[in-house]
């Protein structure tokens, strides 16, 4: 490791400090181990921690804006986020370990590198500029079952799934100025020609995340299955956002709209439109959860050792719905 550190105090300073081969630096919980492993190299870290414009959680009339430097621990414990965007608070709380949540930022979490064990052990795979995915025919128990191209890794972020379900917008800024991207459009499945995991350009940083100001009939939840109870990545997870209301006085309560996003099953947060459609308009009661037929991930193409993820995802969806019902 041999890098300079720049300490900009404004956006503009940060962007001009990001010269050839520089990397943004915030929590560092992913980047530092990658640098120590010696397969990510950089000449300069542009330390964003003194850029005050990247801080804060602010409620406006029609949205809540989260500065990209907000840590996962801050979000997990934030009263407003817990009350209005429970799925996000839960996803942050279930991510990584307490120490990582204290250091790691939301912006960095969304831009973290792959956790594929082949990538992390420096196999010459697509993500390292090679011409093969070693996981596809190798130890693929943790691999994607759907939505993958050449590389079968899964996106490691928990909050990403919640943000897609909550219909968040991601604001980014670079040399060309600012652009706002729907969370659903932000992530991408790496392929042989373009191994990026999201649509950020090298000169761009995430500046803030905007959540819509949902009605009081909205509730959300995030449920995650892991090999152990804590401190690991999702085998599968689900973020669900539901809008529940009585259509007219005396009518039964209905599930007006549902947004269902699976994590741990694809290289992107995987939105399950068919299940959303199936749930929409249904009577909202225990029967829906216990008797509903949930044909999740119907288009999955599992590999040798990961078909279990499909049943796991279905079970998680039922658990998520039950949790929404019980926390009415």
């Amino acid at each position: 490791m041999n890098f300079d550190i720049a300490f900009p105090q404004t956006f503009d300073e940060a962007i001009s400090a990001n010269e050839n081969g520089a990397r943004w630096f915030a929590g560092g919980t992913d980047l530092i181990p990658l640098l120590k492993s010696d397969f990510v190299h950089t000449t300069r870290l542009v330390n964003l921690k003194r850029v005050d414009e990247l801080r804060g959680v602010v409620e406006t009339n029609d949205s809540v804006r989260i500065g990209a430097l907000t840590t996962l621990a801050e979000l997990a414990g934030h009263e407003l986020i817990r009350a209005k965007y429970r799925a996000l608070a839960q996803a942050c709380d279930l991510a990584a370990s307490p120490q990582i949540r204290n250091m790691g930022t939301l912006g960095g979490n969304l831009n973290q590198a792959s956790r594929c064990p082949y990538y992390r052990n420096n196999f010459p795979c697509y993500l390292h500029g090679g011409d093969k995915c070693f996981m596809r025919d190798g130890e693929n128990r943790e691999a994607a079952v759907i939505g993958y191209h050449d590389c079968v890794h899964v996106h490691p972020s928990d909050p990403a799934n919640a943000l897609v379900a909550l219909d968040a917008q991601i604001v980014v800024r670079g040399r060309e100025g600012e652009r706002t991207i729907a969370a659903q459009e932000f992530f991408r499945a790496p392929d042989a020609n373009d191994t990026r995991m999201n649509v950020l350009n090298a000169d761009e940083m995430i500046t803030e995340i905007i959540l819509p100001n949902d009605s009081e009939n909205t509730r959300s939840v995030y449920v995650k299955a892991m090999d152990r109870a804590v401190w690991t990545f999702a085998l599968a997870s689900v973020a669900v956002k539901l809008e529940i209301r009585e259509r007219s006085a005396g009518d039964s309560t209905r599930l007006e709209t549902a947004c269902v996003v699976f994590g741990g099953v694809a290289p992107i947060p995987y939105r399950e439109l068919r299940v959303e459609k199936m749930l929409s308009g249904k009577e909202w009661n225990k029967d829906l959860v216990t008797q509903g037929k949930f044909a999740v991930l119907q288009d999955a193409e599992p590999l040798a050792h990961n078909a279990y993820k499909i049943r796991l995802a279905r079970g998680l969806l039922k658990r998520a719905l039950r949790e929404c019902l019980e926390n009415a």
Partner: protein, 165 residues
């Protein structure tokens, strides 16, 4: 103006460590764990994985547990750091240290300073954790001897919830 510290440049950094103001002269690639151990001789903190996995290197920065093996020391300018050496008052051990001894909450002891600091930070924030909260907040500290049961017992013995407070 953007301040830039060159990779081979050694700069003075002021840290508050266990309540004392310390000045160290360091390059930008130095990690907090090394600076505390080598420059300030605070060897109670251990480095095991060096990759933010195991928690042996846990210290408190402004009261929050962090992995010092991946924390750049330069980034801690002006912040308040607590290591295991900062808990006892002379020969008078901190209650969490006493609870670890009373409950035999370690074997080899390599992870212990990190475990004690994580538990101390939790109890500062929440003096009455239940067992679930204790487990959740201790989950970033691994113990390969497997002393977890005893560590939990030590923690619960200090929780006001356990004592009916």
């Amino acid at each position: 103006m953007t301040r830039i510290v060159k990779s081979d440049e050694r700069v003075a950094v002021e840290l508050t460590v266990n309540g004392e103001r310390e000045r160290v002269y360091i390059e930008p690639t130095r990690f907090l764990a090394e600076v505390l151990r080598h420059d300030l001789a605070l060897t109670g903190l251990k480095v095991s994985c060096g990759m933010a996995n195991c928690g042996a290197c846990t210290v408190l920065v402004d009261g929050m547990p962090v992995y010092s093996c991946i924390t750049l020391a330069l980034d801690c300018e002006g912040r308040s750091i607590t290591t295991i050496e900062g808990l006892s008052q002379g020969n008078d051990l901190h209650p969490v240290q006493r609870a670890f001894i009373e409950h035999d909450a370690f074997q080899c002891g390599f992870c212990t300073s990190g475990q004690i600091l994580s538990m101390t930070a939790l109890l500062e924030k929440n003096p009455t954790p239940d067992e679930g909260e204790l487990r959740h907040n201790m989950s970033g500290n691994l113990c390969r001897c497997g002393a977890y049961v005893k560590i939990l017992q030590a923690g619960m013995s200090l929780s006001g919830a356990e004592r009916g407070e």
